[in-house]
Subunit: 337 residues, 2 copies
């Protein structure tokens, strides 16, 4: 590969001039610029990023830590991130940490050693330990798809309110016995999706004078099978819900099939509501009424915010809550009298 020296020699100028040309410095005569460009063209020269990074202490790279890229939700968020990074000429280093603390910390450390300019971080729960690592490491970070009480930039949604709205909608339809299938709760810490959504669910019931039944609250693992099994159990016996709110579309798909396999029909006997609004939500039968979460936008906004931070630009809002909305399709109707 040709280096800056080769170009300088061929163009008959100093390496400083070559550097200037490639950094769009105005301090170069048009003549010199042309000579340099021609020589570079001839040699197929392009500046070496590693060398440039070392000299400028800036890599133009953003580290991306997600639990699992093969999860539809994160894949969509990452797509949003990548698109805006591409616009601003940033690159992405992708890391799958599986929500394991140890892996997360390891990756953060590694990204730091690689001098990434900043990190966009995803996890199920942002702990004090996380906070301290970023703080002490002096690492620029923005949390995506998650809120936190710590003083860290983030962009997410209001999970409490989203669940509250979902349940309120179900109640407005006339449902009084509403079940929920949530995910792992991890000691009920706030800002965990499952915990906040469960709280929203309960509050909506309370605010509408409805009782909370333990039997209608089931935990699953965010997978199809988990949603299926949880719904099956909920549907067993006399006392059963007329509506089930699963806090992910995938689990909701499991719930719909569980309704059918219980000899009931959806939505006639049991309404099912999802969360996320993945592409396939309209492909289920019945198509899924769900809480829409702006996944692509979460990624895009997070990336834009981080890049602004890196450029030292003014930022009006470091903690952004994006709007969710209820997408009404066919899986939820009023209960039979």
């Amino acid at each position: 590969m040709a280096t800056i020296d080769d170009v300088a020699k061929l163009a008959g100028v100093s390496i400083a001039t070559v550097s200037r040309v490639f950094n769009n410095s105005p301090l170069v005569s048009e003549k010199a610029r042309q000579k340099v460009l021609k020589a570079a063209e001839e040699l197929g020269y392009k500046p070496s990023m590693p060398a440039r990074s070392l000299a400028m202490k800036k890599t133009n790279t953003i580290g991306l830590i997600v639990p699992d890229i093969s999860n539809l939700y994160y894949a969509e968020v990452v797509r949003g991130i990548e698109d805006v990074c591409n616009i601003y000429k940033y690159n992405i280093t992708l890391c799958n940490a599986d929500n394991k603390r140890e892996k997360e910390f390891q990756y953060i450390e590694m990204l730091k050693n690689r001098w990434v300019d900043g990190i966009i971080f995803h996890c199920d729960y942002f702990s004090k330990e996380h906070y301290e690592i970023f703080e002490n490491g002096n690492i620029k970070v923005v949390l995506a798809g998650r809120t936190t009480k710590f003083d860290v930039p983030y962009v997410g949604i209001d999970n409490f309110k989203a669940a509250y709205d979902a349940v309120k909608y179900l109640i407005s339809l006339g449902h009084k016995k509403i079940g929920i299938i949530h995910g792992p709760l991890d000691e009920m810490k706030e800002t965990i999706d499952s915990v906040d959504r469960l709280r929203g669910y309960k509050q909506a019931l309370i605010d509408n004078g409805l009782p909370i039944y333990d039997k209608f609250i089931k935990e699953a693992n965010f997978k199809y099978k988990g949603g299926y099994n949880a719904a099956m159990e909920m549907l067993k016996g006399e006392m059963r819900p007329t509506a089930i709110f699963a806090i992910s579309d995938i689990m909701a798909m499991g719930a719909i099939n569980a309704v059918f396999d219980s000899g009931l029909s959806c939505p006639e006997d049991v309404s099912v509501m999802g969360f996320d609004n993945i592409d396939l939500a309209e492909a289920t039968r019945p198509s899924l009424t769900t809480v829409s979460q702006p996944m692509y936008e979460i990624g895009a906004v997070a990336a834009r915010m981080l890049i602004k931070m890196l450029n030292g630009e003014e930022i009006d809002e470091y903690q952004i809550i994006l709007k969710h909305k209820i997408v009404v399709r066919n899986s939820c109707i009023s209960p039979k009298k």
Copy 2:
């Protein structure tokens, strides 16, 4: 951030010794090693990758170009890649090129300037132009999920045979009127998924003395809606297939719903077969009989191969065809008499 100089000074040794310690050179006394380690610990020192990359002309980074990470298929492949890269301490730079040639070339150029050690490349069709760019740029590359006639390492599946086997299975069930929903054909170039699978479909019909009807061959865009529409058209009128082979599970899901919306039932009136075997294939009703493609493994094997190449290890097979298999579920049965 502490540098190698800081450590050397604090440990009372030269930077060469510090370097040796961090590169596990045996040429260091135990005493010196301890001093260095202690000093490094104290300063929180870790070698800077950009500096190291520049000195060694090796970045320990692999470039990854995919059409679209938010596509379930690629997300799964990438997960496989990431997992093995992680084991071998390689990092991944992710690029979404949307199958656009211009974007692909741009990313390849950029990855080259970043001195990535190698590239794992995904695209719908590997052209001569691609070949030449990698060849002339002297870039180590392995194609994932795709075969090619060019002399480039790859790991993929035999799409012709996979489709052939799928249709053969349908025929063995007794079907004689079999439709196919394929993707874009792009001038019928070989090694494009759609083209090869369509060829496999036709050959299977021919080999079994079955006629090929144009009406039973529809193109769609690999999306749910596309599969739905294509199937709807195919099902219109008197002459309709008793089985539909969609070359992606997502399109197959569309086809299943189209069957229902045509007033028919699946699989009783029309069997539907998919391709890929994504997680959700078991969540459809009826659950989807499909051709399973080892997505995670394609990624993992490609990554392992590239890393071997980077290490200069001997490789027995540069062009690997992984096995597909028919996964029988409930969407395909024998046709009614």
